[in-house]
């Protein structure tokens, strides 16, 4: 593996810091030649994965960190987001009608958005503990 093309950063488990990871991924995608539309898709997906890690994975525990790795490949960018939590369990597919009617809470869109915006995504336990969300986005949709 060409480690020169990997970037790692760690952000605190504080809401708002997901924007740092988001901007970092966007800069890399721009450098790789992604279109503006795909960069916007990537930004939202990375922000949502980090928010899940901060809020649901690490439970906003400020002693924990969220690790983000960007791996540049020929025609795609892989982004891994790791937390130190125990997993967030199964999240039901959100339903706007039920949310509008008040039957379901309005939140719960993060995973739906990630799945809708990237080409491939997996949610798995990390070998070192915690969980990892791996997203792959291609230069061409």
């Amino acid at each position: 593996m060409n480690t020169d093309k990997n970037i790692e950063l760690h952000i605190p488990s504080v809401m708002g810091y997901e924007k740092i990871a988001m901007e970092c991924a966007a800069s890399m995608a721009k450098k790789m030649g992604f279109t503006e539309d795909r960069i916007e898709d990537l930004k939202t997906a990375v922000a949502e994965a980090c928010l899940n890690a901060i809020e649901h994975g690490n439970k906003l525990d400020t002693s924990t960190k969220v690790g983000i790795t960007l791996t540049v490949e020929e025609s795609r960018l892989q982004v891994s987001v790791r937390d130190e939590g125990k997993g967030i369990g199964k999240i039901p597919t959100p339903n706007i009608e039920r949310k509008i009617e008040g039957g379901d809470k309005p939140r719960g869109w993060g995973i739906f958005l990630i799945k809708s915006l990237v080409n491939e995504v997996t949610f798995e336990p990390s070998p070192g503990g915690g969980n990892v969300t791996k997203m792959i986005i291609y230069l061409e949709k």
């Binding site: 809401m15 997901e18 916007e40 509008i100 809470k105 719960g108 869109w109 739906f112």
Partner: protein
């Protein structure tokens, strides 16, 4: 007041306009909800949400807007949206918010629709 967002209220005829500058997230949501409650309490039936094209909106912010859309239905208010970037227009469409509110390319066109 949250420094990541500024919401100002203005009126054009019988339309209340919420000018939303900055991030729309769970953290800033209270500022948007407060502005919405303020115009609702004043009796607004037509409300235009005017977003910042460069603003950051995340799933927490979308949840806030779903809450506003939900309440507006109960209060028989019309909500219209403008100022969104093409990316967030797509996101609002993906989550289904556009079933409950309409997005317009300009303030002028949004105001014309009410």
């Amino acid at each position: 007041m949250n420094k990541d967002i500024q919401v100002s209220i203005s009126n054009k005829d019988d339309v209340s306009i919420l000018n939303i500058k900055g991030d729309v997230t769970a953290i800033t949501g209270e500022t948007i909800e407060d502005a919405y409650q303020k115009v609702s309490t004043a009796g607004a039936k037509k409300i235009l949400l005017y977003f910042d094209k460069d603003g950051y909106i995340n799933s927490g912010g979308i949840a806030i807007l779903i809450g506003v859309a939900s309440e507006s239905r109960k209060k028989e208010q019309k909500i219209r949206i403008t100022g969104l970037s093409s990316h967030f227009q797509k996101i609002f469409d993906m989550v289904g918010l556009t079933k409950y509110t309409e997005i317009f390319p300009s303030e002028e066109l949004a105001l014309k629709d009410f």
